[in-house]
Symmetry: none
Subunit: 229 residues, 4 copies
DNA sequence: AATGAATGAGGCTTCATTCAT
DNA sequence: TATGAATGAAGCCTCATTCAT
């Protein structure tokens, strides 16, 4: 999706510069937030005057869209490749997990912008990426459904199960920075262990838990009421 | 935490109006985002002139902090109450889960602002809420550690385990709206089932999985390389 | 000049409160400047709500006028008293000097406002105090003229001479605070010694001075030109 | 000291416009006061939109600082040049006087802002100009001290003597406008005559003065007491 | 391919003043 | 006498965007 009015010819140097500008923008957006990053900041960091910037990007929102693409496009093509593999549903899910975590970990700044500033896009852009996201989520949904059809997965609500998988993975972007580097395969194995063990085993309530739980809930209600006054 | 310079007398009506202004702000912030919501918008929605608004709030950032408090304060007092109960670690974790999900579900707009706009706060506010958040997370950490000491929980990295629990719960704010209403206790049971089953059971790799996995990873690498050009 | 609408009756407590409010205002104005001091600040410092404040003062500008009066009125009545004394012109001038410095030193905050914020008054107030100031300056003018008539003072320009006297005294308000306390009589004697010695003695150019001066001026011109480029 | 973020290229036209904006600001500040002059007023007078204005100035306070520099910088470089001349202390003082009065008379509007709105600057700016002012005053101090070392000047308090010199000169800005044009050299000669004659001659109290003075002071006390009620 | 200059709407905040109670 | 609540204009400043060159 090149900048408007830049469709003909402009090869080589143009696209190289363009990518550079986006690189710079990603860094600033992820560090300071989309709203708090001015176009001027981007220009300065890229060593380009405002006019030149607009020659490459078209608008601030287009820049945001471009960053989204950089995350979504690999995610979708990898998911498509995974879908074609002839593997068990567990492995398929683990591969999707690794693909997703690869982006989250190795392109943390892109993902930060992608997951956090999504709402800043409006109109056509918003719809476009709603659809793309939805397509990715379908891959996960379908994979889990596969396991269910095989009688391996025991869950009532498929939607919710898919979302739980995403919860587990996506929120990682929030706390990743500032921690020691994580390896994609290890983190993926950790998440998938929890998730797969959870959805493939039936629920076994420990004895006495129900009573304790009821007690606790009563206590919480009391605290809530006390705070209300 | 009343607005600066508003310490004289001001009872009843003042505090009622104040709460009303915050209510209005929460709604707008959660709908349109903090950065995209102008103080003027809040004033208009509250039926108050710009000047009067500042009589109640002090600053836009103070408003944000106030919203944070509305989420964090109950969370912390409930967590404290839970900590004092004499219950199994599973039940304790489920109660923490229910407490957290109660906020996420019943005060969804507050939580949206709380989880999404956290970074907009700066200086003292930021530190303040970093600490409060950290205190809450400690409750979860401690509870899981309790299970581990009892030999029930089998995980290597306690930090990561705590974060996984938070991932599972917190990201819920992202997709909650637009879905049919969820019951706190059901969602909590679902999340806790997955999480507790996961961390209390050892990992059992299905036969043949390793090979398939390796195959899949090779495929992913290929896709990645192809996209690189 | 009581606040508008406060003319009838309002004795005792009213006037006491009023003076208190002005006291507070003087302190704040002299410390932070007239423009930078809000009516709210005054209210807070006086322990009065905004409404009550306006009951006593009428307007911020009226407050400023009132402070001016507190300086000008004693100055004018003392000058009138001095004018009636049967003393030499030197003594008369020294008494005027002492009267003026008494205000500058003992009511430094009032004088600060009086001399510095004069221009903030507009319309009628401005004219009023232009006249009052002018009346005071006349006393000095007349006194010096007396010495000139007696053949003791040798100056060409009476206006300028009067203004030089005022320069010497008035600018004191700028640097007074932050220095060790000065005694009115000593400072007055110092200023009057310089001034009276100066205007009662003829000018005697030291030998060689003219030439050096011309040299210096040439040097200054060069510096000025160099900076201009 | 160009506006922040304006370091790229910007020659010629930029600096010309910048100077023009400052010129306009000086005029408005000196006429209406710094606090009472809005940035909008400056823009309007300069024929520039608000945004463009900030392209040139950075902030209102930076504008004020710039104006200060326009006065202080020449003052300091001229003083430095004077310090290097091999002339008598009287001539040196007269040259300092002429340098100072040159600014006061020929750049009256700048000096008005410089002397009157100094207190509006805060933080770093304030310190910066406190230091610059202090450096200039040192030149005067040192010069007078030179005369004293030579046994020509008879004063007790060097600080006070320096300040008296500044009083005499600086306050001129207050009444200069609205009078017929003054020549730098004449006014300087007038001031220096008074000042030098004053500090180089011993004090000779006229006979009978002490008694008259005492009488007058008693009278003043009476007036003051009468006003107190 | 790139620039610097300009725009104008909108950002948050403060302020002197009024008025019903 | 005194208050708290409200106003609305004005304050300074930032920003995404455009355009002649």
């Amino acid at each position: 999706m090149p900048a408007a009015g830049a469709e003909r010819g402009k090869t080589e140097r143009y696209y190289r510069q363009r990518e550079r500008v986006i690189d710079v923008a990603v860094e600033l957006f992820s560090k300071n937030g989309y709203a708090s990053t001015g176009v001027a900041d981007i220009g300065e960091a890229a060593g380009l005057a405002r006019g030149a910037l607009y020659y490459y990007i078209g608008s601030k929102e287009a820049l945001l869209a471009e960053i989204h693409d950089r995350v979504m496009d690999p995610l979708l093509s990898e998911a498509a490749a995974i879908a074609e593999l002839d593997v068990s549903f567990e492995v398929r899910l683990r591969l999707l997990s690794e693909s997703l975590l690869w982006q989250i970990i190795n392109r943390h700044d892109h993902v930060w912008v992608f997951l956090h500033e999504y709402h800043q896009m409006q109109g056509e852009y918003r719809e476009l990426f709603r659809d793309k996201r939805s397509r990715f989520e379908q891959h996960i949904h379908v994979t889990i459904a596969q396991g269910r059809k095989q009688g391996l997965v025991h869950v009532k609500d498929m939607e919710l199960t898919t979302l739980a998988f995403l919860n587990l993975h996506n929120y990682t972007y929030q706390w990743l920075s500032g921690r020691r580097p994580l390896k994609v395969e290890e983190l993926s194995q950790f998440y998938c262990h929890i998730f797969l063990t959870g959805i493939t085993n039936a629920w076994q309530q420990p004895a006495g838990a129900t009573k304790e739980l009821r007690l606790g809930r009563t206590r919480l209600q009391a605290v809530r009421k006390a705070a209300g006054s």
